[in-house]
Structure formats: structure tokens, C-alpha cells
């Protein structure tokens, strides 16, 4: 089964069975090594041909739904966009995303992120109260460009898996959530920066980050959450200085 000929590669897949009390164990599976096969194709081959009980999430297989993040040879990756041939001759290690509780095999529990997401208020906040829609809010291509990069996040959780701060302190808001706050702050249609800063200026907000920079490095969509967090720190610092110098103006 683990024949490592030219046409095969061994996938060392971490299995965890929640009905047993044992910690996760790596299990070797041999899969065909084809140039167009991704790690996800390999997992699907295992599931179809060798063990139908293998559990993992996947859906779009084109890098846009964000379901199939796993640690491949220790690096958080979208398995649908990671090719087996890049790991030849193998074996290639496939593990659940780091820093999350494991539900089964390669499936992790990301509910912590889903609960954090609304706290940064990732929606358009307006000063005016628009009830009747009468044409679009104008936004020039340059204004669109200002936040576009931060709107590309697919919530794949690779940045949380790469972030040692999140691993050590699960209360940390984390890269994707803060990047999303920055996305709305930079949107010319939005007036909610003040409200979001109130949330992110707290200890679990931006100050938890020690700028490891791994989140940006592993991001498959080039969102640059590390950049977003540092810019938020600048905003928060400015705010603190202003509050010190002009106490009456603060909190407006």
C-alpha cells in the first residue's frame, strides 16, 4: 500500500477517531502520483478506494470556498491548490490545521472564528439612515483599490493555523477578522471605523499581535492580514495619544 515507485506517493495522513480515546496517529496511504493531482485529489482517492471513513472538508476545489485548509508538511495550505508532485518522492504529511480543536481526522472546529467574526462588525455602517435606495454610492476605481486586497479573504483559516499568538492565546481576535475590519474601514462607503476601533483597541484585539508575519506569508489570496493589523495598531496608538492630549475630544 505504501509502494513508493515513480508513479506513487505516500500520503501520511493524521487520523483521529472521536469514538476512541487515543490521540491522533499518522497512517500511510499510497496514491498515484499524477502531475495534475492535488493533495485533495489524493485524499479523495483514499476515500474512494481505500477507506471511506476518512473525514475531511472540501467543496469547490478551485480555491475560493475556503473549506479544504490543512497542514501539508507542516505548512497551512489549501489542499485543492497544492500539488502532490511538489512533494515527490514523498511521503507527504497531511494533518489537520494547527491551533484548532480536532473534530475528526482532518476536520477542525472553527466555531471560535465564527463567533469572533461579528464582533468586528464586518458590514457597512452609515452615518446617514438610508431607507430608500436611490442609485449607487459612488466609488472611484482608486477608492475600490484602497480596500480590494482586504476583501479577498475566503475565511480558510490558514492564517489562524500559522499564527503562534493564536495558538498560545485563543482569545486573540486573529488575522482574518482584523483584516476584515480593515476592509470595511477602508471602504469609502463606510463610516464605522470608530466602532470597530473600540473593539480592536482592546487587549484581545490588535495588541495581541506581535507581528510574526506568518499570516501574510501563508495567505493563499494575498490578503496581508499582518499589514492590516499593524495599520490598526497605528490607528489605535494615534487614538490613545489623542485621548491623552485632548481628553474631551476622545470617544466622539
Amino acid at each position: 500500500m505504501t509502494d513508493e515507485s515513480d508513479d506513487n506517493i505516500t500520503m501520511r495522513v493524521t487520523r483521529y477517531r472521536p469514538d476512541k480515546n487515543d490521540p491522533p496517529v499518522p497512517v500511510d496511504y499510497g496514491v498515484p502520483l499524477r502531475k495534475e493531482w492535488t493533495v485533495l485529489d489524493g485524499l479523495n482517492h483514499i476515500k474512494a478506494e481505500q477507506d471511506e471513513s476518512l473525514a475531511f472538508r472540501w467543496s469547490c476545489r478551485m480555491g475560493i470556498c475556503g473549506s479544504c485548509g490543512m497542514n501539508v508538511d507542516g505548512e497551512p495550505r489549501l489542499t485543492c491548490a497544492t500539488f502532490l508532485s511538489d512533494y515527490a518522492p514523498g511521503p507527504v504529511r497531511v494533518e489537520p490545521l494547527a491551533n484548532f480543536p480536532v473534530v475528526k481526522d482532518l476536520v477542525v472546529d472553527i466555531n471560535d472564528f465564527m463567533e469572533k467574526l461579528p464582533r468586528v462588525k464586518p458590514w457597512i455602517i452609515r452615518d446617514d439612515d438610508v431607507t430608500e435606495i436611490d442609485g449607487e454610492y459612488l466609488q472611484t476605481p482608486e477608492e475600490l483599490d484602497a480596500y480590494k486586497q482586504f476583501s479577498m479573504c475566503i475565511n480558510c483559516m490558514l492564517c489562524y493555523a500559522a499564527c503562534p499568538v493564536y495558538g498560545l492565546d485563543p482569545d486573540f481576535m486573529g488575522p482574518a477578522a482584523i483584516a476584515l475590519a480593515e476592509r470595511y474601514d477602508l471602504d469609502s462607503r463606510d463610516h464605522g471605523a470608530r466602532e470597530r476601533l473600540d473593539v480592536l483597541i482592546e487587549h484581545e484585539g490588535v495588541w495581541g499581535c506581535t507581528f510574526v508575519g506568518e499570516c501574510t506569508r501563508v495567505c493563499p489570496k494575498h490578503v496581508d492580514p499582518a499589514g492590516a493589523i499593524q495599520r490598526y495598531k497605528v490607528k489605535a496608538a494615534k487614538e490613545s495619544v489623542m485621548a491623552f492630549l485632548l481628553p474631551r475630544a476622545a470617544g466622539r
Binding site: I64, C65, I133, E136, Y137, S151
Partner: protein, 585 residues
């Protein structure tokens, strides 16, 4: 394990968290704040397949040179006159407002230099009326809408719950039984009204742009609950999918000026009554013809031996090279990213190999113009539903606004119904217990060594491709229907190796397979009954459109003995009597 508990009761429960389901939820939260609303989905909402839509969303903004009537006519003729014209008129009238609403909710639509929203051409459309967010339109729409729903804390979400049955008593749908995937518990959630918004069923075929989750769950649930499915024979092939993966190369690539060329570098569409080639795109012509006609042209081109062989079937090529790097990077960056990643070619310098690929189900749960599905308390919207605005062939960029328009309409209608519906009846608990017994029996059934879900699914998919591809015949579909019956018996007998409850993907796959079998059967039976060729349903044994006998929808319904029955329903014609579909002349 504590199975069979009724864990919550809501006024309206959405099944599916894509564009249609979320739009329905927000519509209710905004207009009927006193109602208790919930969204249940087998995936987190942002994983829904709406996320993969690329090209754009159409809505005629009447103050330009476009009119609602022109959008309606394009849609009617695109549907080969099978679309219901009252529904289409409502659709084109409400689409612009819905798209503007998404703009106000933060969707990063691509813009013109003056700050107004940009438009692009699209197949089968006579005017440029398609809004877009580069070529990740569905992704941006879904995320903007999902993030907006987070504002409504009163909307309860059931993320990663797989619905296995609709609860029906007293002639009313009263909720669902579902598996909470994280724990594996089988639980019931009751509701006065249920809105099905579970997307399409592309996984019934082997080669599809659809995601793994598109297994026709909502359609199968409705069918088993006694609601009819409509026009299931109309399955859309998109002309440009990448070989092997089936990943979609958006129609926007052609709208921005891409050419389809055969093995000789010749723009072959000119040979198929689709117009004459010109260097820049011409609306409703050549590469901007409708998808059914373009996919059919590919088959003829292959028969003439003018396509190129590849390890994954015959291909033609999409040529974007003349568009230049700047345009490709600004308007089609995802196309470039996908080609580089999955084909290892750069469309700036190389041709993209493409072939027709299963993309969209025009049919679905039969609904009226407000999403009502023919059973009290049951509604449907989006690809799951068949209103029908798409008829025999959907135009590109109509499906995203369809999700919004009919998501909102069905949400509002469900809210109105729920406001006056009687409370849940006691009898549903017996149904819940029944369903728990059925699922436990499935979990306890030992798996044989010689058969499994994956094998049966693969055979079903290849059966469907052979029986009901771009061109079909009576005998091919009959043979397919027999094969599907045999596969149904095997699917019914399949066992589960995975004995643990949390995240039992093997169990889910077995239940999805049962849904796919039901859908496959409906596609073939509807196709057999339609002895004509119209839109995406092309029969070589009945090559002409036959308005005398078939200007009608097909409804498939389960008889009491479980066998499917087909009946006809007249098409609603308001202002556009059936005519010839003319493209490129």
C-alpha cells in the same frame, strides 16, 4: 446518544446559506422583525457554491439606453420560450433594485472612472447590463451578504447541519430532521415555513463546474415530501470548462473579447448560425451567443474532427492573448490565476483548452412567482427552485440576481404565511422518531467489501453522462433509466464503515447519493417525456422544437407508491409569443 429531540422552533427556517437563503433571511429580518428566523446549511454559509460564480449579475438599469423589456426579451428568447413570462417580467423589474441593495451592503462592484458601477456584455444579452466584481462576482456578493446577515443577531444559524427529511403533517411542511455534523446527533427543528435554497445538483454528472456539495438535496427533499419538480430535463452545459478539473472559465472571458477557436485556429461558431466574426465582441453574436448553442456547436465540431485531443477528452481553445496583460489582470484576474494553477498555462501568452461542462440545473422545485412550492409552508428559491425564468436555457449572469430577487420574494411570502400559520402538530414527533430509526439503521448496516458509496456514485455519474449529455435519444435515456434503477437498489443496500458519529462524512455521502439517484431518475424521465428539442434538451430522434405539444413545463411528482409521475403545465405567455431564436443576424 440523545437523538430525535426537537431542539428549536422557528417561524421561518431557510435550508441553505448561499445567496438565495441568506437573501431570504435578511428580507424577513428587515420586514418582519417580530418573526423568529433561522438558516440551516450543511456548510458554513461562506462555503456555499454561490461563492464560485464568476462573471456577473444582470439587471437592466432603465435610465441608460437599456430597458426592462429588452432584458425580458433576451431572457425569454434565451429560454427558448419555456420561461414563464410573468416571472421573467417580475425578475427583470426587481433585479436592478436587488443589485443596488447589494451595493449598499458593501459588494465591491467594479467601477467606472466616475465612480458609477461598470457593466460588461454577457452571452445572449443584447445590451451591456451585467454588473461584476472583476471575475469573482459570486464570491464578493456572497461574502458581502453573509457579513451583512451578521448584523442581524436575531437570525439563528445552524452551520453544518445536514437535513435528511422534511416534516409534513396535516398537508403542511412543519420543519426538518437534520444531523448536526459536529456531534452527529439526529435532531429536529420545527418551523411554520421552510424555504429550500440548497443550490444545484451538478454532482449527478461526472464532469461539472459544480462544487462537491451540489447534490440536489433540496430538490430531493421536496420530491419525497410530495412537492413536484419542474423541467428537470434542462441541464446546462457551459461551453468553457477546463479539462480534467471541470473548473469554470467564465463567460466574461468571451464578453471581454475572447475567441473560441478549433484545432485550425478558426472561429468555428460562424459555421453554426451564430453570426460572422469580428475582432471586437458583438452582442448576441458569435462567442456571445447563448450557452446551449455554443455547447452544441462544440459537439458538431468534434464530430467533424476539428477539435484537439487531450488526455481528458476533446478540447477547443479559448484565445485571450489579444486582450493583453493589463485587461486580463484588471477584468479577468481569477481566470489567469486558475489557468496558471490548474493548467500551468498563462492566458496572456497561451491558448486555454476548454470543453463543455455541466454547469447549471434550469429545473428544480416547482414554485410560483413568490417561491411557494405547492405544499403549504414550503418555499424554494435559487438554483434549487424552478420559477421558471430560465426555461430551457439560462442566460449567463441571470442566476445571481435570480437568487436575490426570488430569495427575497420567497422570504417575504414565507414570512407572511408563517404569521398566520397554525402551530406545529403533535404528529411530527412520530415522523422524527421514524427518521431517527431510518438513519440509525443506515449507520448500523455493515458495509460490504465489494460495493461502496463512491463506486455507486461514479457509476451513476457516467450513466447520466452517457444517457443525458448535450445530445440525447429515447433509447439512451431509457437505458440510463434502467441503469439508475439498478443503482438505486445498490444505493439502498449500501453500508457505512465509519461507526463514529461526529462528522461522519461517509454517512452524509450515502445520504447525498440517495438524493443524486432521485435527481438522476427525474432528469431521465422528464427527458424521455419531452419528445422535442428545445434549449438545452436536444434529442437527435426529435430534432425540432414542437410548440404544439411541448410548449409546456414538465412536473415530476411521486405517486403514493413512490413511483414518479409526469404531467404538463402550460407556460405563461404574456407579451412575447413563441418565435425563432435569432443570434448573430
Amino acid at each position: 446518544m440523545a437523538d430525535g429531540e426537537v431542539v428549536a422552533d422557528h417561524d421561518v427556517l431557510m435550508i441553505g446559506g448561499g445567496l438565495a437563503g441568506l437573501r431570504a433571511a435578511v428580507a424577513i429580518a428587515e420586514t418582519s422583525a417580530h418573526l423568529d428566523v433561522a438558516v440551516m446549511s450543511k456548510v458554513y454559509p461562506m462555503r456555499s457554491h454561490s461563492v464560485s460564480a464568476e462573471g456577473g449579475a444582470a439587471g437592466a438599469i432603465a435610465d441608460d439606453d437599456d430597458t426592462l423589456d429588452e432584458h425580458a426579451y433576451d431572457t425569454v428568447s434565451g429560454s427558448d420560450w419555456l420561461g414563464d413570462q410573468d416571472a421573467i417580467e417580475a425578475f427583470v423589474a426587481e433585479a436592478p433594485r436587488e443589485l443596488l441593495q447589494l451595493e449598499h451592503w458593501g459588494c465591491p462592484w467594479s467601477r467606472q472612472p466616475d465612480g458609477r458601477i461598470a457593466v460588461r456584455a454577457f452571452g445572449g444579452m443584447k445590451k451591456m447590463r451585467t454588473w461584476f466584481a472583476a471575475d469573482k462576482t459570486g464570491f464578493h456578493m456572497l461574502h458581502a451578504l453573509f457579513q451583512t446577515t451578521l448584523k442581524y443577531r436575531e437570525v439563528t444559524r445552524y452551520d453544518e447541519w445536514f437535513v435528511t427529511r422534511l416534516l409534513v403533517d396535516d398537508g403542511r411542511v412543519q420543519g426538518v430532521v437534520a444531523i448536526e455534523l459536529m456531534t452527529g446527533r439526529i435532531q429536529a427543528v420545527t418551523a411554520k415555513a421552510v424555504v429550500l435554497a440548497t443550490g444545484g445538483c451538478g454532482k449527478v454528472f461526472p464532469f461539472t463546474t459544480n462544487a462537491n456539495i451540489n447534490t440536489g438535496d433540496g430538490m430531493a427533499l421536496a420530491l419525497r415530501a410530495g412537492a413536484p419538480l419542474k423541467d428537470m430535463e434542462f441541464v446546462q452545459y457551459h461551453p468553457t470548462g477546463l479539462p480534467f478539473t471541470g473548473i469554470l472559465i467564465t463567460e466574461a472571458a468571451r464578453a471581454e473579447g475572447g475567441w473560441l477557436v478549433n484545432a485550425d485556429g478558426y472561429r468555428y461558431l460562424q459555421d453554426y448560425d451564430l453570426g460572422t466574426p469580428s475582432p471586437t465582441p458583438v452582442l448576441r453574436s458569435m462567442e456571445l451567443g447563448p450557452r446551449d448553442r455554443l455547447s452544441q456547436a462544440f459537439v458538431h465540431e468534434a464530430e467533424k474532427g476539428r477539435t484537439t485531443a487531450s488526455p481528458y477528452g476533446e478540447v477547443v481553445h479559448l484565445d485571450l492573448r489579444h486582450l493583453g496583460e493589463k485587461l486580463i489582470d484588471s477584468k479577468l484576474p481569477f481566470v489567469r490565476e486558475l489557468c496558471l494553477k490548474y493548467e500551468r498555462i498563462d492566458p496572456v501568452h497561451e491558448l486555454i483548452p476548454v470543453r463543455p461542462v455541466i454547469h447549471y440545473m434550469m429545473g428544480g422545485v416547482h414554485t410560483d412567482i413568490d417561491g411557494a412550492a405547492g405544499l403549504d409552508g414550503l418555499y424554494a428559491a435559487g438554483e434549487t427552485a424552478c420559477v421558471s425564468i430560465n426555461g430551457a436555457n439560462r442566460l449567463g449572469s441571470n442566476s445571481l440576481p435570480e437568487c436575490l430577487v426570488f430569495g427575497a420574494r420567497s422570504g417575504r411570502a414565507a414570512a407572511e404565511y408563517a404569521g398566520s400559520a397554525p402551530p406545529t402538530t403533535a404528529a411530527v414527533q412520530a415522523q422524527v422518531d421514524d427518521e431517527v430509526r431510518r438513519l440509525r439503521a443506515l449507520l448500523d448496516r455493515p458495509a460490504g467489501d465489494d460495493d461502496g458509496v463512491a463506486r455507486i456514485r461514479e457509476e451513476l455519474q457516467s450513466t447520466m453522462e452517457e444517457a443525458a449529455g448535450i445530445y440525447r435519444t429515447g433509447p439512451s435515456m431509457e437505458k440510463g433509466a434502467d441503469a439508475v434503477q439498478a443503482l438505486r437498489e445498490r444505493a439502498d443496500a449500501v453500508g457505512i464503515r465509519d461507526t463514529s458519529r461526529p462528522f461522519n462524512t461517509e454517512l452524509v455521502a450515502a445520504l447525498e447519493l440517495a438524493n443524486l439517484v432521485d435527481i438522476g431518475e427525474c432528469i431521465l424521465l422528464s427527458g424521455l417525456a419531452r419528445e422535442e428539442s428545445r434549449g438545452a434538451h436536444q434529442r437527435t430522434d426529435f430534432p425540432a422544437r414542437d410548440d404544439e405539444h411541448f410548449l409546456a413545463h414538465h412536473l415530476v411528482r411521486r405517486a403514493d407508491d413512490g413511483s414518479p409521475r409526469i404531467e404538463q403545465l402550460p407556460v405563461t405567455i404574456t407579451r412575447w409569443p413563441p418565435g425563432e431564436r435569432v443570434y448573430g443576424r
